[in-house]
Symmetry: C2
Subunit: 83 residues, 2 copies
Amino acid sequence: MINVNVHITLKEGVLDPEGKAIEGSLHNLGYEGIEDVRVGKLINLTFDNSDRIEEKVEEICRKLLANPVIENYTYTIEDGVAK
Amino acid sequence: MINVNVHITLKEGVLDPEGKAIEGSLHNLGYEGIEDVRVGKLINLTFDNSDRIEEKVEEICRKLLANPVIENYTYTIEDGVAK
């Protein structure tokens, strides 16, 4: 069992309305000193084998999970213990 | 400048329709061997000082960012270089 964690974040300069909403709520709740909030996605994929895993994950990120025009992605691949 | 990364994931057993949709799309695109897909959130908070930071982040997660009934959260606090 292979565990892949994909982190998808908006590129710098791309507006993040969800982050701005959270920032506004934090100010309304009385939290001070928060300069910026950015929201991204965390996608966990479980593979049953490690065959060409890096190539597959790279392709899946580019084709389906991220929009490379406005988003960056990084991923970690962990070889888990079989269940 | 303090960088806080909050990872929010659905608890085990909680249905994840977004993850199921991605899983379906991956099968349609011809990717085999994917057993499970779970989608979570990645929230990056930038603080201007480290005053009571852990206490604040814990409270913010519990009160605003996560729904503790169905979601788990973890966070990392990084002391960045001041800009």
